[in-house]
Symmetry: C2
């Protein structure tokens, strides 16, 4: 049976105090057909598995991570994801049984290149099979079997860990209820692969690499350090490096290193490189970075859809604005592929200057943690407080809250019970929450404001972080009974395009908008020759209004007629009195709620 190479001491850091080892004597066949005669898996657990075995969360680590995701005791070494895992944390160890295992091909206790090959009695080294993310997941599934977990409540991971979550959802759809895919995408970009290639070349061309059989020798320390330095640049962002190093550009930290330390950024990288070789094995680095490069759910939309088709779990995707390794745009392609198949998915792009590493950092992960917690809790959970205005705020007819509340009432009148609803520009999810309480089951929101998206998702509502054009495009024809566009028309650039999309994706649309042609507006313009202005939704100056469009009821009707969109029903209201208007609404009403259909 495989075991640790005894010659590996120099490259194994402090042993993991709480790690358990599971040895499987059964041979393991990799996706490419190669075989390992047995497996050792190093893993840690937190919390207690409930009797039904339904509260297990698998946390997957990134390239340089290991099983030590969080502290076990207050005096324990901090884990790499302490901020997410622990008592009362988003992945609450008082509620969930949390498992994290070192990946296949790693160097922190699980079978990898530093293990002795029983066939040759020397470490596998470069002869260790090419490992894919799928193989890592297959090994984890064996561990989950061993732990007698039927269906994982969730698989959660960032970077390489996110790729594992993706793979879990598609390979073992009946063993996973939810997946949180953080800072990951369907495939790494060619640019990303290129950096990895250069790093691997640096390792393999270090003469101490000795074709991978360096155990017992010095090992390719310079090559591995160089690979790490390079990778480290890609984990940060241009902006974060600027902030960190520009003010002290020519004042390197005082470190002892064989690497160039002329520049402040150079001394930092030298330090990172030097530290990394103390705790990581070069063959593992090659194995794991190759696995990341080989991970591929497809290039085209169709390929990605097909890859994700088997998945049936709830999904959460989190990406970070400055992550250029697994950028938001790439994450969005996965979201689109799931949306196109009407899978239950939420997504959020978090504004962060910290690049790919954001998923490991406290500040960008505040919202991330809240959303992960909501994903684990499931759609029935309503623990997040509602930010609904109280009656005193709503009372004023000139307030935005009043307009919204009035708006929702009218929309609900036009919205048949229990229908599936897409809410475009859903804000903090207020209307969706009302609909959920009213018994509507299939709901989806689309919202552009990050804070509102986090609020909505933290409430357990499925929401896509997207602008309207791009957010709707992936939704299949007729996949909702109703699409709502509440007081958002005036902020849309491509009005006709969005209306067309509404009546494409839903059987009917309900569109509410301010009517800029109501009497006081017309009078002010005609009499005073100034661009009209009013109260509530109309309280903007001509020179700084956030509105892009100024619809009138008649204009809206004409546009619908031109695009072949029928008007099914409408409610027109004078918001000053709250009364419904029936005669000449284009003159008398200031709010219109119109049901439309192709």
């Amino acid at each position: 049976m495989s075991q640790h190479s005894s010659s590996d001491d120099a490259r194994t850091a402090r042993p993991l105090r709480y790690a358990k080892e599971w040895h499987s004597p059964d041979s393991f066949t990799l996706v490419n057909g190669s075989q390992l005669p047995g497996l050792t898996v190093s893993y840690e657990t937190w919390g207690t598995l409930n009797e039904a075995g339904t509260n297990a969360v698998l946390v997957c680590h990134a390239l340089s991570g290991d099983s030590h995701a969080a502290r076990h005791q207050p005096d324990d070494d901090p884990g790499w994801w302490d901020l997410l895992i622990g008592p009362g944390r988003p992945i609450d160890t008082e509620r969930y049984f949390v498992v994290c295992s070192n990946v296949l091909g790693g160097c922190r206790g699980t079978t990898g290149p530093n293990f002795v090959d029983p066939a040759t009695h020397r470490p596998y080294g470069a002869d260790f099979p090419v490992v894919t993310v799928e193989d890592m997941v297959d090994v984890q599934r064996r561990l989950i079997d061993h732990l007698e977990i039927g269906c994982l409540a969730a698989v959660v991971g960032g970077s390489l860990g996110g790729l594992q979550a993706l793979s879990w959802a598609t390979r073992y759809p009946d063993r996973i209820a939810a997946a949180a895919v953080i800072a990951a995408s369907a495939r790494l970009s060619s640019q990303g692969i290129a950096f990895d290639v250069v790093g691997r070349n640096a390792i393999r061309h270090d003469p101490e690499f000795a074709d991978g059989q360096y155990y017992g020798g010095a090992g390719p320390e310079a090559g591995l350090a160089i690979a790490r330095m390079l990778a480290h640049i890609t984990y940060l962002s241009d902006e974060s490096m600027r902030t960190k190093f520009d003010p002290t550009r020519l004042q390197p930290r005082e470190i002892e290193s064989g690497f160039e330390s002329l520049f402040s950024v150079g001394s930092y990288l030298a330090y990172q490189g030097d530290r990394f070789v103390e705790r990581f094995d070069a063959n593992s680095y090659i194995t794991l970075s190759s696995a990341m490069d080989l991970f591929d759910l497809g290039e085209s939309e169709e390929e990605i859809r097909a890859s994700l088709a088997p998945a049936s779990c709830r999904w959460l995707f989190v990406s970070f604005s400055s992550d250029w390794l697994y950028p938001p745009l790439a994450s969005r392609r996965l979201v689109d592929a799931l949306v196109a198949q009407s899978k239950r998915v939420s997504s959020c792009e978090i504004e962060s200057a910290a690049g790919h590493d954001s998923f490991l950092l406290e500040e960008p992960m505040v919202g991330g943690g809240r959303m992960v917690a909501a994903l684990l809790a499931g759609p029935g959970d309503r623990t997040a407080p509602l930010r609904v205005p109280d009656e005193s705020q709503v009372g004023e007819p000139t307030s935005i809250f009043f307009a919204h509340r009035l708006d929702y009432e009218m929309i609900l009148r036009l919205l048949p019970e229990r229908t599936s609803v897409l809410d475009l520009g859903c804000g903090n999810g207020e209307l969706l929450a009302i609909l959920r309480d009213r018994g509507h089951e299939k709901l989806l929101g689309v919202e552009w404001d990050e804070e509102e998206v986090v609020e909505s998702i933290a409430r357990g509502l499925p929401v896509l972080h997207a602008d309207l054009g791009q957010g709707i495009a992936a939704i299949p024809d007729g996949s909702f009974e109703v699409a709502v566009l509440s007081q958002t028309l005036q902020s849309i650039v491509d009005v006709a395009g969005v209306l067309d999309e509404i009546v494409r994706v839903a059987d009917r649309g309900i569109v509410s908008f301010p009517n800029f042609a109501h009497a006081p507006m017309r009078e002010m313009f005609a009499r005073e020759g100034r661009l009209p202005k009013g109260e509530g939704l109309y309280a903007y100056e001509w020179h700084d209004t956030p509105n892009r469009r100024f619809p009138s009821i008649l204009d809206f009707q004409e546009l619908c007629a031109k695009r072949g969109i029928r008007i099914l029903d409408a409610i027109y209201v004078d918001s000053a009195t709250g009364r419904e208007v029936t005669a000449d609404p284009n003159l008398e009403a200031d709010i219109a709620v119109v049901a439309i259909q192709r």
Copy 2:
């Protein structure tokens, strides 16, 4: 005297057929105080120096370039900038005497690390002094002296060549009439330096580097190739790599290489790395990349301004949208620093997916070449054709051309002769060209549309490629007599901010805009309850108008009053008849031209 190391054959590519050598026996003191006992400069020239010695253009090469910038004969090897240099090309060798020399520290004929140090009788190697861009320029100045050129008509360069142009302008302001700075900035980002550091570490940690004394041995081929692969990634863009490699991701080119070629992008980089070591010296690579990293005109605005203060030449800055090594934003900081000092500067950000390497490529350099040609020709040149509409087009009162022509006539009436004029939203420079013909000397345009910017600059007009907010911010208080904003107000988001800026940078502003409150508009809105629409500037639908703002004359007046801006004078016109309106212009006129002042 220094000469080529005889042991350097393997690392010197095919000799440069048309290169001349100039040997200077005088010792040369570098900026950091170190000395070279003499200099050899390898250079090439094209065309003929005129008698006055005023038609010389110095072209500066990038890191891996050399003196062979262009063909000398049809059967000659193509140069690295053939597309810009040659008979009838933008840097026209029938008109200009073009000089290009290998830089100090290079490996293509000019004194560098592969030269024998007369003190030790072996190549300098790693003991070659640390070279800065300033030193390169000092060597070039000696060559220019030797060639008996008094004042260079221009210094032109991209990347490291652009840094040399910057340095020329500040070090020898009376020896340079114009500078074209392409794909360059005041300093490399910390991210950019980080990549270079990793590359240099790879070279120095190659055991064959032998502390830089590898001449005669194998040399650090793997290290240099790895450095080149890495740098090459930074010369491309994420997008261009995607296009090039994603469709064939796992189909590497069939090449023979010791480097990883599992991925298509890997085989490409391996090829680039292998070819580079055949023609480049590792010590030169370290020397030149360090010079790029050390180049620093300052971090803060104040520092950059101070660095550029001595310069007195005409400037052209060209950057490329996808260049992440010397990005447009960094180029703009230089432009702003010059604008802040009222230097004559034009700038253009060219849309290109090809990354930093765009400056070497035909397609992105079509516009670049036209602008360089205009820079060389000087402000008096009017060779570029005007795209002025002919009378048949202008004739229709409903046409945009008619509105513009009418607009210009009124603006000219309010515009005192010979005043200095800033034209905000200058389009293709039509009004600026009229003003130049009318004898106005100090002119500057700001325009957001790339094609229009190229047109304007190619006409010899100084134009900044910027949006109005950011384009004006750097202009000092009161630096123009008049600032014109012609038919642009309606497209501005921050109207108040731009008006404030206009009266800050100029003694007076002249603002022309469509009056959305003129009679037919009011009538249509009041009578029909539809958002008004008309002809010419008013011919847009409510749901897709590109206009952001809908000013009326009264609204404009009120806003000015609120901001403490005085209205000095105004002309109001009914464009349908072309007649000036004096009574109730807010009702009767559809075009307003207003002179304002703080």
